[in-house]
Amino acid sequence: MERYFKGIKEGNEKTIAEAITLVENDREQGFKLLKKIFSETEISYIIGITGPPGSGKSTLTGEMVKDWLRTGVKTGIIAVDPTSQFSGGALLGDRIRMSDKVTDKNVFIRSMATRGELGGLNSSVFDTALILSAAGYERIVIETVGVGQNEIDIVNLADTTLVITTPDAGDEIQTFKAGLMETGDIFVVNKADRPDVIKMELMIKQMLEMAYGTETEWTPPVLTTVANRSQGIEELLQKIEEHTGYLKTGRRFYQKRKKVLEKQLINLMERILRENYIGRVLESGLMEEKIREIAARKLDPYTAAENLIKERGV
């Protein structure tokens, strides 16, 4: 434990990476480390980026990070990709678009899979942000595909959240969950060299108006960028600074962080319950038997659930 702690404090990449793995895979040991870290660490400013697949999140992240690195800001990137429901595997491809930044010694990129119900990823993302903060990364970017509730939850950990879309993603915008509209602090229409940019901008603005009304302290701006040509990045960074300033006025930041901690506390309790109770039930092999009984109507699922938890929990 001391080895991890020391390595993280020294900014040793290998130890940081191993600590993240530990936290992801081994709750007991991981918690021990995180307890020690938490009391001595202020969590760095977190920027969340979400949007549909192929909207350019990684490229945009790369562009923003490039700018921070120029001024020597140590940046951590947590790139989250979905786990396949069928195989349990995941393809984590976000490094591809950031590869030319990987060489900078001030950036640490970690890819994570959402894992299944029993993976407890939501808590691990926060934990990873905590570890990176302790290691001296002043700014942290969490990038995730904005398709499901799980991803919205992840992005909710961020202080400033960017929602990325493209001009031709009309249908996807229509189906953006209300939660995502309310989560975004800044909206970006990327690939703005394609047709219908203005239409998309308007559509988002209208949806925002519906979600927020007109009387709001922070009206999310809608920006346009062409990430792979570095266009619009300055304005985007400027807006992020503005939002940071807004958040740091009065008690807003404190309130925001309190909400994140509340969320994390729930995530952690869920992780404990899943691993200690549901996980044990799944491992016990009792499920199959019960399901057969339920299917044959010898048992109802309500009694079965109550009993499984009672019998298998600790």
Binding site: K14, D26, T83, S84, L92
Partner: protein
């Protein structure tokens, strides 16, 4: 405790624009339940090693069709050793002539899989050796 997933980094070292094989492997390993980080084309040994460290992977899979394996692979292995990474399985695939296999095995490439290898074989090899 949750069963640990095998995490693999698939990389294409050097100047080589052909990544279909690497992508097929990446997808195949994902279908086998592994977490696969694909890093894209034209990676330097330093980038690959740093990526493997940051991602804390169990396996590095190198795909190469350019013929530069004799030059690039030893560099990667040396860098790994220099960084103190010793618990990692390094495998390779692509166009690697039979006569080079032994030499590569000797420097620490655990498995070499040339075109036509069923993905199952690679999956089994990884699962057995990690």
């Amino acid at each position: 405790m949750v069963k640990n997933k095998i995490k693999v980094l698939i990389a294409k070292p050097g100047l080589d624009g052909h990544d279909r094989g690497a992508k097929v492997i990446a997808r195949g390993l994902k279908e086998a339940g592994m977490e696969v980080v694909y890093t894209g084309l034209r990676q330097t040994p330093a980038q690959i090693v740093r990526g493997a460290i940051q991602e804390d992977v169990d396996v590095i899979g190198l795909s190469i069709l350019s013929g530069a394996h004799e030059h690039l692979f030893p560099e990667i292995i040396e860098l790994l050793q220099k960084e103190g990474v010793d618990n990692l399985l390094v495998i390779a695939g692509g166009i690697i002539p039979e006569e080079d296999h032994e030499k590569l095995h000797d420097i620490g490439i655990a498995g070499i899989f040339t075109p036509g290898t069923p993905i199952r074989e690679i999956v089994d090899f990884i699962e057995k050796n990690v």
